[in-house]
Amino acid sequence: MTTDHDPLLAGLAAMAVPAPGHLLDAVAARWARVPGPAGDVFVATTDLGVAYLRTAGSAEEFGGLFRARFGRPLLPARRPPAGLLTALRTGRAGRVRLDLRGLTPFAASVLAAAGTIPRGETRPYGWIARQAGRPRAVRAAASALAANPVPLLIPCHRIIQADGVPGDYVFGTSRKEALLRLEGANLDEVRGLAVTGTRYLASDTTGVVCFPSCRNARRITPAHRHGFASLTAAGRAGFRPCLHCQPA
C-alpha cells in the first residue's frame, strides 16, 4: 500500500504545507549594534518592536543578558529597525515600535508615564509613582525604571530625585547626568533651588505652579517668579498646578 496507488495516502501526503515565511520572527529576536547618545548600544527587536536595549562589551555579552531575561533565540538583524537611529539621536521614540510584553501592569504604567516626559525636562520619582496610579509606591516605581527594557527609547533617565540629584540609572548615574546635560536639562538650577528648600516654581503672570525643569517654569522671568517648598503652600498662595508638568 504505497502513496502512489492509494489516493487517500496521496491526499494525506499532499496536506504537508510549507511554513509561512514570517514564522521565525514570531520566535526569534534580532540584534543590532547602533550608535546612541552616549556610545554604542545593542538592541533586540521582535516582530512587535524593540524589546531590549542595553550597552554591552560584545554581542555575546548582550546575547547572554537578553537570553537570561527573555528566553528567546537572538539572531543578527540585517539592519536596525526603522526609525531607531533618529529616535536615539533626538531622544524621542517617535515611530519606533516597542515590544513591552512581559511587563507587570504597574511597570507598564510607570514606563508609559516616563515616556511622556519631554527631552530637556525631568520629574521626581514621587511624580512617576503618582502618574502610575500608586503614589506611595515610589520604590517600586524606581525598580520598574531600573528594569526598563528599553532605556533611551523610554527615557527613564528623566526621572531624578526631587533634590536634583540624578539618582540610579540602568547605565550608571554618571551616564544619567551626562545624558540629561546633553538634553539641556537644568540640573544645576534644580539642585540650587532644592538647597534653599524650593521644589516648585510659580509664575504670577500665569498663576501656574510647575516643577523647576518644566518648560513653562524655565520661561518665568525673575521678577514674576515665586519659589515654593510644597504644592500646598503654592496652592494657598493661589497658584494652580501646571497642566504640562502635572506636579499634582
Binding site: 487517500l8 494525506l12 511554513a19 520566535v27 526569534a28 537570553r67
Partner: protein, 203 residues
C-alpha cells in the same frame, strides 16, 4: 519531509557550538514538518502558526538548559513533535477549543504552490475535504495519521511522539485510516448520510 538526511547530526553539532545559530538551523530544517503537523492537528491556519511558534520557543528554552551530551543524544524530529503535541493539548485545554468545528477553514497555502490552476483546485478540494474528515477522528488517531502520512514519520517515531509502543501506534494509524475511508465513502453518498451517521440522536 526531513529534506536533509544528515540534518539531525549537523544540527546537534551546531546547537552545541552556538545555541542561537544552531536554533536557526533547527528551525529551517523542521519548520515545515512542525507547521504541517500543527495545521492538520488543530485545523486553523492562525492557530497553527501560534502553535508552531510556541513549540519552537519551548524547544529553545529547553535546549538552553541542556548540556552538550544531552543535545547530541536528542532525536530532534520526534522530540520537537512531542513538544508540539504537548503544546497543542495545552492550547486546546486553555482555549477550550473544538478543533472539529474548525477544520473547514480556508487553505491559503495552496495558492503559493506552483501547480497548474486545475491541479491546484483539485488538490485544494481534496485537502479541504480531507481536513474536514481528519477533524472527525478521535485525537489520538488523528495525531497518528497526521504524523505518519502528512509528516511522513516512520512508525518508530510516531510511537515515540505519541509515547506508546510501536504496535499501538500502528493500530492508531490503521484505525484512523479505516475511519477516514469509511467517512470518505459516506461522503460519496451525500452529506445527508454523513450527518446522519455523525448525529448524536439518529432516529
Amino acid at each position: 519531509m526531513d529534506q536533509t538526511a544528515n540534518a539531525p547530526d549537523r544540527i546537534a553539532a551546531e546547537l552545541a557550538a552556538d545555541l542561537d545559530a544552531g536554533f536557526a538551523a533547527l528551525f529551517a530544517a523542521y519548520q515545515n514538518v512542525l507547521f504541517s503537523t500543527a495545521l492538520r492537528i488543530c485545523g486553523r491556519w492562525a492557530d497553527a502558526e501560534d502553535l508552531t511558534a510556541a513549540a519552537f520557543l519551548r524547544a529553545f528554552r529547553a535546549l538552553s538548559g541542556y548540556d552538550r551530551e544531552r543535545i547530541a543524544s536528542l532525536r530532534i524530529r520526534p522530540w520537537l513533535l512531542t513538544i508540539l503535541l504537548n503544546a497543542s493539548r495545552n492550547q486546546v485545554r486553555t482555549a477550550a477549543r473544538r478543533p472539529r468545528e474548525m477544520l473547514d477553514a480556508e487553505l491559503p497555502e495552496l495558492e503559493a504552490r506552483g501547480a497548474s490552476a486545475e491541479a491546484q483546485a483539485e488538490r485544494h478540494e481534496t485537502s479541504r475535504e480531507l481536513a474536514a474528515l481528519l477533524g472527525r477522528l478521535p485525537d489520538r488517531q488523528r495525531a497518528a495519521v497526521v504524523l505518519r502520512y502528512v509528516a511522513d514519520l516512520p512508525i518508530a517515531e510516531v510511537a515515540s511522539v505519541l509515547g506508546c509502543p510501536p504496535g499501538t501506534a500502528k493500530s492508531h494509524v490503521s484505525r484512523g485510516l479505516r475511519r477516514l475511508r469509511e467517512l470518505q465513502s459516506d461522503r460519496v453518498f451525500g452529506d445527508d448520510r454523513v450527518l446522519q451517521t455523525e448525529g448524536e440522536n439518529p432516529r
